[in-house]
């Protein structure tokens, strides 16, 4: 049992690392494709793309150690006796190393997830305690022009009195439409999950990837608001709020993310250029991945056996 679990853990981690490196290398080439898709599709695909190393490798590792699939998908071969078998380590130290490594990695991911989750909850409770509930949002009695959505599963929209006073009714409706989309799509949770899945990427790459998802989430919500209010109205509101935030930021010598604002306005004005993937196309992507997972099992079985043999030799030397 320990031998199987340890071997499975090592295969999972090995595949996870290999997939992370491969995806990291191909991401700069795929990034423009993500940015050309409709942001609704792009946000889902980007999250799946970076969740793939952890999740796909786990699925493949479990399939590799499943007795049923083993008999069906692995080409018959013998190691002394010709019984059906899974790639197993014979060294207890190697098995324990695998279990230990997985515990540390999964523990680290869970710790990161819970830490961020708790920070968000605490912050939301703090603002909720000081806000006045209104229809569809929480009003913050502050002159700073601010609007944001906080929370993971049941996010809340917070709008400052300063922003309300400086926006007309139509602009407010656009802002609420945009923030409502964040609530429905649970964008904060998406960003949190991405942060966790990218935990082992180099810091600079992680920041880039998170920023990409954040920009796409904002664009998806802009497009959502544009369905009701029109692209021009959303673009105008963005520039208007941008000006307000910039004016308010001056005393603190701060500015707002102008690069993203320009990209969002351009995306709205050129919204027809974005490719919308149909359900069939998404299904086709899913089927290609499933097929690849099945096809990879046989070579992976032999690769894992080779890896176990190498590790077993090292493990024996450790005794």
């Amino acid at each position: 049992m320990i031998s199987t679990l340890g071997s499975l853990a090592l295969v999972w981690l090995g595949l996870w690392c290999a997939l992370t490196v491969v995806l990291r290398l191909i991401y700069p080439g795929l990034r423009p494709l993500f940015m050309r898709l409709h942001p609704d599709n792009a946000t889902s695909l980007l999250l799946l793309f970076w969740a793939a190393p952890a999740l796909l490798s786990l699925m493949v590792a479990v399939m590799l150690y499943s007795p049923l699939l083993n008999g069906l998908l692995i080409s018959p071969h013998c190691h002394g006796n010709c019984l059906e078998h899974t790639p197993q380590t014979s060294a207890l130290s190697v098995a324990l190393l695998g279990i230990g490594l997985v515990t540390v990695v999964v523990g680290g991911l869970l710790f990161s997830f819970i830490r961020h989750w708790w920070s968000g909850i605490q912050m939301m409770r703090g603002f909720e305690a000081l806000a006045v509930p209104k229809a569809g949002y929480q009003l913050l009695d502050s002159p700073s022009p601010l609007v944001f959505t906080l929370g993971w599963w049941n996010p809340q929209v917070f709008i400052s009195r300063g922003l309300l006073h400086q926006c007309n009714e139509h602009q407010l409706a656009v802002i609420l439409g945009h923030e409502q989309a964040h609530r429905e799509r649970r964008d904060n949770l998406r960003l949190l999950l991405l942060q966790v899945f990218c935990l082992f990427l180099p810091s600079r790459v992680r920041q880039e990837v998170i920023h990409d998802l954040q920009l796409l989430c904002e664009q998806a919500c802009d497009f959502y608001a544009a369905k009701t209010h029109g692209e021009i109205a959303v673009a105008e509101t963005l520039v208007h709020v941008g000006r307000l935030v910039k004016e308010a930021a001056r005393p603190h010598s701060m500015a707002f993310n102008g690069g993203d604002l320009a990209l969002r306005v351009r995306a709205l004005l050129d919204h027809k250029a974005r490719t919308v993937l149909s359900r069939w196309q998404m299904l086709a992507v899913g089927m290609v991945i499933s097929l690849a997972m099945i096809l990879v099992l046989d070579p992976l079985h032999h690769g894992a056996e080779w890896m176990m043999a190498v590790l077993d030799n090292t493990g024996f030397h450790l005794h």
Binding site: S119, L130, F148, A235, V241, A249, N257, V265
Partner: protein
């Protein structure tokens, strides 16, 4: 190297739920001792007196409340007003958005981060106006 911290580590005004509720009580009525604060708390499960005393002690150490000795007990009064506390919390949020450290905790309609000048905003506005004219010209053409 670009160091990142979680928001909970960098928020100066990160008050817990009970601390906020204690502040609410003290904003409504000043010069209360721990027992009176506890009685005024509107919670499904009222915390123990020692828990309330600990929360008051933390608030005192953070300089959110002041205290004076009345007989054997301390009485507390809020130093920071509700709007000042909110201002501080929003200031933290603005600062964190500016530093890009809040991006996985909240979604802001317009992020505070990099730089954009008036000219760029004017250019964006002009671009929108051009598109508006283009659209109305197309509609006129159809009409």
């Amino acid at each position: 190297m670009n160091k990142t911290k979680s928001a909970s580590n960098v928020l100066n005004t990160n008050l817990g739920e009970l601390e906020l509720q204690v502040m609410e009580v003290l904003w409504k009525q000043s010069h209360l001792d721990a027992r009176q604060v506890r009685e005024s708390l509107q919670r499904i499960r009222t915390p123990s007196l020692s828990t309330v005393q600990s929360a008051l002690e933390r608030l005192y150490r953070k300089s959110y409340v002041n205290r004076s000795k009345q007989g054997h007990a301390y009485t507390y009064q809020a130093v920071l007003s509700r709007s000042s506390l909110l201002g501080r919390m929003l200031g933290d949020v603005i600062q964190l958005l500016h530093d890009g450290r809040m991006e996985t905790i909240l979604s802001s309609f317009v992020q505070a981060a990099a730089d954009l000048d008036e000219h760029s905003l004017d250019s964006l506005e002009q671009m929108i106006q051009d598109r508006k004219q283009q659209m109305s010209a197309t509609e006129d053409g159809r009409g």
